[in-house]
């Protein structure tokens, strides 16, 4: 078995196109997960108890079922109730919601880490609720959880190949197609692995940097 570098060079543009989808899905889903997770954590903390409880159980359900099943659900089941989504949109929603269930937990621990005295001081100064959240509580809570959130970015990136299953033309999808077409699976799967490393490692370094930068308040 020989490794055909020439072939890799030939199909690299196609693979990079796939990588573009992978990165796009990661970035958009992650932004979605960051925002939705924060909303969930705030609702669980501040909303009336029944609402908070419902949100809690929905999130628990999401965390306890496989991502792949959720992706299939969004892409193949929702159309039967009239919600037709493109593969990429379905993938972004699936990944985003799934990871929101995890980021919500991260934010929750961050919020719990903000001492009660901070809330009380804000109340004693009659700060409006919005200001209490945006100026006092969230800056302190988010700072603490940047490392944990960063790790989920890398996890999510490594989960994007699951979008293959709902026909998003991301990196693995392309590599598999080309590998099957020319019977060059060795080259294709190796390159997929290498491309993932090329993105993950710098991302991990960036996260370590942010961690150090925000570690001290």
């Amino acid at each position: 078995m020989t490794f055909d570098w020439g072939f890799v060079g030939e199909v690299l543009p196609d693979l990079l196109l796939g990588l573009r989808y992978t990165l796009l899905a990661t970035v958009v889903s992650y932004a979605f997960a960051l925002v939705l997770g924060l909303v969930v954590a705030m609702v669980r903390r501040a909303a009336p108890r029944p609402v908070a409880a419902v949100v809690h159980w929905v999130m628990e359900f999401i965390r306890c079922t496989p991502l792949l099943v959720q992706l299939f659900f969004v892409f193949y089941v929702l159309p039967s109730v009239g919600v037709q989504l493109s593969p990429l949109t379905a993938g972004i929603i699936g990944l985003g919601v799934h990871y929101a269930a995890y980021t919500a937990e991260v934010y929750r621990s961050g919020l719990e880490g903000v001492p009660r005295g901070q809330w009380e001081a804000a109340r004693a100064l009659s700060l409006p609720a919005r200001r209490t959240w945006t100026a006092v509580v969230l800056p302190q809570a988010v700072r603490r959880v940047i490392p944990a959130l960063g790790n989920y970015l890398i996890s999510m990136f490594k989960d994007t190949p699951l979008l293959f299953a709902i026909t998003v033309p991301e990196l693995l999808f392309e590599a598999n197609r080309l590998g099957g077409q020319y019977f060059k699976y060795l080259e294709m799967m190796t390159v997929v692995g290498l491309l993932f490393i090329c993105v993950s490692v710098p991302a991990a370094i960036l996260i370590r940097f942010l961690e150090r930068r925000y570690a001290a308040i």
């Binding site: 001492p115 109340r123 004693a124 009659s126 006092v136 800056p139």
Partner: protein
């Protein structure tokens, strides 16, 4: 002047025109099965300096926290300037207060905490200006100017751009005092403000408070174990035990000639200890 018709508990009359600034009316507070305040009645007049003393767990801090609406009463009413903290008037009836009503009443009250509770993510300047700008809606320039004056008063003008973590405990507490005063409260609540400080830093904080007592007519309600300070600034001292006022009177009397056995015991323990 509140009417007594729909009051949850007997709001016994106070002569018209003499309504005190703060009035506790049969206030009950429980934590679970533990009754902290038992039908407590007491009043504080505008400009008065009142010190609450007593063993821990006697309900002193709870009184301040109730006034700041950090806790809710389980019974009775607390009146501030004729408004109930826990109830508001709607169509002539008293109904449980909503957040807006509480915020309005609370604006007149400032509090300094044992643990300072400065916002660590903000500079000293922003700690002081945040609420005036966002709660009272005054301009940033005006708030800044006021912050500078207050920092002059507490002797920390040069620390205006520092962060709380760069300050000693005593300095943090002085900033916290400035922060509370920036809201121009009528009432200042001081909750064991020197208890968390290293002994050598206590005097600096107390000097600032003495100065405030001397130069303003702000109403002060303090919980403290600093008996010398209590003697200096208060008009009246209330001795608490088990959620009740055991004895009250001018500081000279309470510290010089306490009548109640419980007060004598307590003062003996504190002053000897």
């Amino acid at each position: 002047m509140p009417q007594s018709d729909n009051l949850p508990a007997g709001a016994a009359g106070h002569a018209p025109g003499e309504e005190p600034l703060i009035r506790f009316d049969k206030v009950v507070k429980r934590f679970g099965r533990n009754v902290v305040l038992r039908e407590l009645d007491f009043t504080v007049d505008a400009g008065e300096r009142v010190t609450l003393i007593g063993p821990s767990g006697s309900g002193k801090t709870t009184i301040l926290r109730l006034l700041m609406t950090l806790e809710r009463v389980n019974g009775g009413v607390i009146w501030v300037n004729g408004d109930s903290l826990s109830h508001m008037r709607r169509n002539g009836r008293l109904v449980p207060a909503n957040e807006k009503h509480q915020r309005e009443v609370r604006k007149k009250i400032g509090m300094v905490f044992q643990q300072f509770n400065l916002f660590p993510n903000m500079s000293v300047r922003r700690n002081i200006t945040e609420a005036p700008v966002h709660t009272l809606g005054i301009s940033r320039e005006e708030a800044d100017q006021r912050a500078e004056e207050l920092l002059d008063m507490v002797g920390l003008r040069q620390k205006i751009d520092a962060h709380p973590t760069q300050l000693s405990g005593g300095q943090q507490q002085r900033v916290a005092i400035a922060r509370a005063l920036a809201m121009r409260p009528q009432i200042l609540l001081l909750d064991e403000v020197t208890s968390a400080l290293d002994p050598e830093l206590v005097a600096g904080v107390l000097d600032v408070l003495r100065e405030i007592a001397r130069t303003t007519d702000i109403t002060m309600l303090s919980v403290t174990h600093e008996m010398a300070f209590a003697k200096d600034v208060s008009h009246r001292v209330l001795m608490f035990d088990q959620g009740r006022i055991v004895e009250e009177g001018p500081p000279e009397q309470i510290f010089g000639d306490p009548h109640e056995e419980r007060t004598k015991e307590f003062l003996h323990a504190v002053l000897e200890g």
